[in-house]
């Protein structure tokens, strides 16, 4: 049969290329742990900026967290914020350069612990920016301490016997909170450990950029992701754990979406 005659060499040809690393990722190797979702979100984000052809209009803000070095990978102008303050930087940038696409990229410790006030107020003011929020339920960079989003009974280096709700409170659904604020136009929760999840995340980020262009207000995209290192699991174990434990508490989907213009 015809198929039998097709060799790998026939297929692996420039004209058959259907997926390649976006040129907006630099050549630097991610410093992330094997299997960490940060890399996927980085890639998807850069794909959107490439597709929209807005490299020269995009300004990103890296947080303090594992993605502190995001600027080593994203080939756009970037600033590195103080821990938790990315939304404030983004506000300063966007207000003085309203024609740029400004986004922050933040972890759950950064955004939902130390940066709570900046997050809530940027959302409440409806800053015309995008916040990309990687919720891995832990402080990855500093060695796996409890985050506000750490699940009940989940172990971390500061809750070695599991998060005790009585002591530490419930895992904080900050995304549900900001969805309440009139300043946010688009609030959604996504994942990137499955192909379908990645496709939807990409769509969400595309939406966020579109709404920003339309000056709709703040788009808030939570990505529930693994920190396999902090969780002390292999990447695939971690993704499974994520589905079984994180997603029931942090269900995916749109929490808020504006009418199409």
């Amino acid at each position: 049969m015809a198929e039998q005659q097709i060799t790998s060499e026939d297929i692996i040809q420039e004209e058959n290329l259907v997926f390649d690393r976006t040129s907006l990722l630099t050549d630097n190797v991610f410093h992330y742990c094997p299997g960490c979702g940060h890399g996927v979100v980085h890639r998807v984000l850069m794909e959107i900026i490439e597709e929209l052809d807005v490299q020269d209009k995009a300004i990103g803000i890296a947080p303090v967290g594992c993605s502190v070095l995001a600027y080593n990978y994203m080939d756009i102008d970037m600033q590195e914020a103080a821990h938790g303050r990315a939304p404030a930087l983004a506000t300063g940038i966007k207000r003085t350069m309203p024609d740029k696409y400004v986004f922050t990229y933040q972890g759950d410790g950064d955004l939902a612990a130390i940066g709570t006030a900046e997050t809530i107020h940027a959302c409440n003011r409806g800053e015309n920016i995008a916040i990309i929020f990687i919720n891995n339920g832990i402080y990855g960079m500093t060695g796996g301490q409890m985050a506000p989003t750490t699940l009940e009974k989940m172990k971390s280096s500061t809750t070695p016997y599991g998060r005790n709700i009585q002591q530490m409170g419930n895992p904080l659904k900050i995304t549900e909170l900001v969805a309440q604020l009139p300043g946010t136009c688009y609030v959604t929760r996504q994942v990137v450990h499955t192909p379908a999840g990645v496709r939807k995340t990409k769509r969400a980020i595309r939406n966020a950029f579109k709404y920003q262009q339309e000056e709709r207000g703040l788009s808030f995209i939570e990505v529930v992701s693994n920190c396999n290192s902090g969780w002390k699991m292999s990447p695939n174990q971690a993704n499974k754990w994520l589905e079984e434990n994180m997603l029931p508490y942090y269900p995916t989907g749109d929490l808020k979406k504006p009418e199409d213009k």
Partner: protein, 76 residues
Amino acid sequence: MAKVTGRIVVDTERCKGCAVCVPSCPFDVIALADEVNSKGFHYAYMKNPEACTGCTNCALVCPDAVIKVFRKKVTA
């Protein structure tokens, strides 16, 4: 009837052997090599290349963006 076949190319030196691509493939194309790259990682390879449809699933989930996907239409 038009059918598609595909292949992936893994940048083995940059692959971290996380194995996230492995379960993402609907056709069980991918496995980790017994060998390691210079970083000590067991990189991904096509253990079953003919089954690949070029669906890009693996590339979508690869955290290190080290998978290229090729797809070609084949007329049966």
